[in-house]
């Protein structure tokens, strides 16, 4: 049994979810007596490929072409499917990132495989993988099996542990890209970076502000706390709809789904659509003046009080603890 992992990179740097996927594949392979092969697609990835050995890949395939430097969905999908077929890998793991979520459905169709997307756990039971995935925006959890011969799973970022690299390096094998015109019929040409320092979907700590902050000018206070914590700034929809913050900061059902280690919700009521995007965070702190706000039902720690008084104090205290002052 072989597992192929799509190890996403951008600008010749691996994304953390790539390590998480390799490590998860390693743990499944150990239970099923299997082998882990990783695939890296890009413009110039040879130098980074061997490092995947440190997370448990036994072999790393690379497909390089300058035209693959940016994401090209059809080319990437064909290469993943070709690699799986050539190496008889029946299980394919892909990070559920913006790229992975776009890639996986194409890979599944090419391999005639069932797809379990945005999984939050993969367990081996009786020699088979049982996937857990949230549905109805996290209001319910399902467990499912994929019954086709080939199986594709995408893994929600930040939920599976990557651990530290063991420092091992894996042998690298090149596969030819042989791009066709069809492969290149939809390609990314450019990336427009958002102004935010750190994106909520990649941050380990998030400080989110809600409508209770009364106006965009009061987000300075949220930014200062985020800065002290090394966190990204998030926003509720109410705040985004009011034009106080950009949409790419929105957390929730119609925003981003996040699972940071720490999520601090400030003056956010905790509407069900907001909880949908953040309830799988490891620790949740709520600061709200209404003790009955639904956010307290999912919070590990809460302060019932005025954000305008608490947040500056919290920023100062965090700085003190981290020795930043």
């Amino acid at each position: 049994m072989k597992i192929l992992v799509f190890a996403e990179q951008r600008e010749n740097k691996f994304k953390k979810p790539a390590f998480e996927a390799v490590k998860t594949a390693r743990s499944i392979a150990d239970q099923l007596n299997g082998e882990v092969i990783a695939l890296v697609v890009g413009g110039d990835v040879q130098s980074i490929a061997p490092s995947l050995g440190g997370y448990g890949a036994q072999k790393v395939l690379i497909a390089e072409d300058p035209r693959l430097a940016h994401y090209a969905s059809r080319a990437y999908a064909r290469l993943v499917a070709d690699a799986a077929e050539a190496h008889q890998a029946t299980i394919v793991l892909i990070p559920a990132t913006a790229m992975g979520k776009d890639l996986a459905p194409r890979v599944a169709v090419r391999l005639d495989a069932g797809l379990a997307s945005d999984c939050t756990a993969l367990n081996v039971e009786g020699g088979e993988i049982v996937a857990t995935r949230p549905v109805y925006a996290g209001k319910a959890l399902t467990q499912l099996k994929v019954n086709s011969a080939s199986k594709v799973f995408t893994l929600r970022p930040n939920v599976f542990a990557a651990g530290e690299s063991s420092g091992a390096v894996a042998p690298v094998e090149r596969m030819s890209a042989d791009l066709t015109e069809q492969d290149l019929s939809c390609v990314a040409t450019e990336i427009k970076q958002s102004s935010a320092r750190l994106d909520v979907s990649e941050a380990d700590i998030i400080v989110t502000g809600g409508r209770g902050l009364k106006g965009p000018e009061h987000f300075a206070m949220i930014e200062q706390l985020a800065e002290a914590l090394g966190a990204a700034v998030g926003a509720s929809r109410a705040v985004v709809d009011a034009g106080w913050r950009p949409h790419d900061e929105q957390v929730g059902q119609t925003g981003k789904t996040v699972s940071p280690s720490l999520y601090v919700a400030v003056a956010v009521s905790g509407a069900i659509q907001h909880l949908a995007g953040m309830s799988s965070s490891k620790y949740i702190v709520a600061i709200n003046k209404d003790k009955d706000a639904p956010i307290f039902q999912v919070a590990n720690y809460g302060i019932v009080g005025d954000a305008f008084e608490i947040i500056p104090a919290l920023t100062a205290e965090v700085k003190k603890m981290l020795g930043k002052n």
Partner: protein
Amino acid sequence: MKLAVCINHVPDTATKINIAADGKAIDRTGVTYIIGPYDEFALEECLRLKEKNGGDVTAISLGGDTHKETLRKALAMGADKAVLLKDDNARDSFAVARALADYLKEISPDVVFFGKQSVDYDDGAVGVMVAEMLGMPSVSVCVKLEIVNGKATAEREIEGGREVVEATLPAVFTAQKGLNEPRYPSLKGIMGAKSKPIEERPASVVAGKTELIKMEKPPAKAGGKIVGTDAGAVPELVRLLHEEAKVI
């Protein structure tokens, strides 16, 4: 320009979810259903493309008779034609995609729109699966789209920014919030929709590839702790985050 949009009929996002007795689906009693919020952006974009380039918009939904309600809403918003691919059974995303692709192949549209995901099973897979089945380019999670002379330039949301993607038509797109502001159906639209027919035909039969073992409510969070009621609680909160949760 021939435009097609696939729309799903899903529980209102504010609905409280209870699990049905068989432990494999939600209990549908008292649940209100709506057009998928992302599918509404998809439909709106098709209507705008039609207004700009001419052509017609076909709205397609796969499901039971209840889906007609959502198709009726699409007609009221301005779709020219509505098609119900009838199937009363639950399907996985692969099986949904296959049936939609079979129908779309017949009508061969220039542009096919989907929502970025259904708000029931949250797969976010059907649109791109259909693209692969039809051998078409695709851009998912679009927040901006321009089509000039059979060439599309789209922006899709990615971590930390947007990716600009170029694609040739015919192509598949999936809509993300931010793409547009969906219109409200006009009174005239609502009245007109009542008399427009909804074409019904059986969905092509295909087996799914995944098997749901069980559905359950997520475990309740073990009682959170209210640390205090003013700034005086801050040092204790920071201590807990550092020593107990070990997250800072």
